[in-house]
Symmetry: C2
Subunit: 426 residues, 2 copies
């Protein structure tokens, strides 16, 4: 049976003030507009068809490169910020085993000299490659980090350093494109019609994921199946569209903050990825949901009090992994000091299950709508499906809010101010 | 010169709708009520005097134990949840160098079997000790994890395992207290009048911090100086009180979400600690600020769009480290593809400084009030000062909201539901 991402509406419907079907016509109109490319931002719809038209040559290169670097036990330093690193970071965190180490290291997402110093020291006696990801090549954080790490690479491999750099960048222009051509770096392409936060299923996300050891064929197969499943615009058949409508209805009812909840901290970066996706797509024109994230039961012992009984302007969306593969048995204790022997024979996942249901009961009772997004398993297929599911939900959701889902004018504001201060803007 | 935590009001004052001095009388009343112990929750004011009355015997034990375990190069597994681990975790993250490894490992803060499995495998061939932190000893997450890790310890050290456990717990009763007495574990005390989220400067936070290598004398000296500095109730002399008033005024003006901002991800767990402190203290009776956190410039490329131009119900509080000790120089590049050679000779911290000022200019222009909390340096002294500063600000702030800062009735709601489902509640 195919593993599908689904939405459980049970703990949401009682909170909706009207029948969600009243939005069916509007959603169908947006759906058609996305296909016909007639809506705001339609020159950035390349992500819609990514799973249908995989770029075979690039994907084959990515697989070969991954095989080679893994065989050499070398490190890959991925230099990028925002959409250029969050997708791969989310994928790797989602699938990593606790206490395992990773040979994929992210950099260029901050301006912290201490981080670069630590990284360079760490890399001193390691073999490594660089994947620099930047459309323009002039984004400050990755560009400056690239200078430093490239220097180290060139010192370490004076004859072959250029062969150890893969540049994921524009296909025909820009600073990094020019440098790549002149230096002969391997090039992967960031298409003009795929924005950063929608790029995880392109070369941007795939190279690092594959080097880490994620089966990208399965990832893309999940996305392809999501593509097919989500072609039906019916709110009763398309849970991504339903999710978009639910968020919008809650927002209109003054539930203006969405809390992404997981019960497994390995999903934390998936939440970070989603936060960029939704907040950058929707947070404009003085509108939009603020998206926060928490990991339960951990954060029930910190922010839980607020969710239970604070200001009633929030709702929760749970990223629920249904089948936990590895697990641990609770054992009997001779002395039973903690009086928990009645739990012996249960698994930790049973405790997690009871915690989740208990929290849902308590929080809905406290006035917090709960949406559950069910993720069948932690595997590459489900992850690919989920990425595409959320991307499509976000496009619908932003159009319901009547904003352009694919621009980010607000991100330019601080850059302009910063460039002025650095004397980079005449 | 003494390093003090201070608040920069420059980017806040233009947003305040009234003169903040109108709250001076109310604050003075709360201040006096805290001292006289006449306000709601006054049986939980032990944290107020912790820095003045250090428990010398405990502190000496902590130092000796740390010396011993560090000499043996053994690991310390700290088992606790919420206030029982966030303080030490925040302290260690704040002071850790990037790419350095830690011999302090946290557990018991989740119900993830896979985490325990990974941890036990990791510990198999390492020497380790346990610090279990729980007032009652029956809190589900730490109690169940303690069962597992204690079993491993007993198997590994059949004759001496009891000597390798330090229990931080109630001084006279409870499951963990009883077990500790019966098994002869070393005991450290969680005082009745110090709640979890206010316990970082007690044995709860100090043992792990000290084992990691943090100078706890300096930490406590910082807290003591904060204690002294913050005895003056004048809003113009007491920046913790000013911060409390500012949050309250913004909240009343519908700025209901506070975003804690840093420019250095090593402060992320300090933000988590603050989130528990404030949200658990204030988020009740359908009131309270929701506190979120972001690390810039990283998250400017994800959530920045929302902050710049989304719904105008947020303000930012920046945890600003003023003096960065280690740093990295930006070097000239022959080819200057990225056109950033004009930055050569600057340090990365100069870029961070320009980014921060640029962001403040852009976000305040966009309608977001900014409060800057200046932290002179990343050292133990400033951290101790900051912990106490925020604790005191929180007590004042919660009393302004007219809620009890020291209870957490909402956290019990989900536990009750969960216990029902697990058959633990008759």
């Amino acid at each position: 049976m195919k593993e599908k991402i689904t939405v459980n509406k049970q703990y949401l419907l009682p909170f909706l003030k009207e029948d969600y079907h009243v939005y069916q016509a509007k959603v169908k109109e947006i759906h058609n507009g996305l296909i016909a490319k007639t809506l705001l931002g339609s020159d950035f719809l390349g992500w819609l068809d990514l799973p249908v038209n995989p770029k075979t040559e690039e994907i084959n290169f990515i697989k070969d490169f991954s095989k080679k670097i893994r065989k050499e036990k070398a490190y890959l330093v991925v230099i990028g910020i925002g959409g250029s690193y969050l997708g791969a970071k989310a994928a790797i965190s989602f699938l990593a085993k606790p206490f395992s180490s990773s040979k994929v290291i992210f950099a260029g997402y901050n301006t912290k000299g201490e981080y670069l110093e630590g990284l360079c020291k760490f890399l001193q006696n390691k073999d490594f490659y660089i994947n620099i990801i930047s459309k323009s090549g002039t984004t400050l954080e990755p560009a400056l980090s690239f200078r430093v790490i490239k220097n180290l690479l060139a010192k370490k491999y004076p004859d072959t350093w250029k062969e150890r750099i893969v540049a994921t960048t524009d296909k025909a222009r820009g600073a990094l494109y020019t440098e790549s051509v002149n230096n002969g770096y391997t090039k992967l392409v960031i298409e003009d019609n795929v924005g950063g936060r929608y790029s995880v299923l392109s070369a941007v996300g795939l190279l690092a994921a594959s080097v880490y050891g994620i089966n990208i064929d399965k990832l893309l197969k999940g996305a392809l199946d999501a593509y097919k499943d989500l072609l039906n615009p019916s709110l009763d058949k398309n849970d991504a569209y339903f999710y978009a409508v639910a968020r919008y209805m809650l927002y209109k009812d003054n539930k203006v903050t969405e809390l992404l909840i997981n019960y497994d901290e390995s999903l934390n970066y998936l939440s970070e990825w989603s936060k960029q996706l939704f907040c950058e797509s929707e947070g404009k024109d003085k509108k939009g949901l603020l998206v926060g994230s928490m990991s339960y039961t951990t954060d029930l012992h910190s922010l839980g009090q607020y969710v239970q009984d604070g200001l009633r302007n929030v709702f929760e969306t749970i990223y629920n992994v249904e089948n936990v593969s590895t697990d641990y048995l609770i054992s009997e204790d001779d002395k039973n000091y903690d009086k928990l022997n009645s739990l012996a024979g249960k698994h930790f996942k049973d405790i997690t299950g009871a915690a989740m249901q208990g929290v849902i009961n308590a929080h809905t009772e406290g006035g917090v709508p709960n949406i559950i997004i069910n993720i069948p398993s932690k595997n590459a297929y489900c992850l690919g499906y989920l990425f595409y599911f959320l991307e499509k939900a976000c496009a619908i959701s932003a159009h319901l809010l009547e904003v352009n889902p694919f621009n980010q004018p607000g991100v330019e504001s601080y850059k302009k101010e910063m460039f002025k201060l650095l004397g980079l803007l005449k």
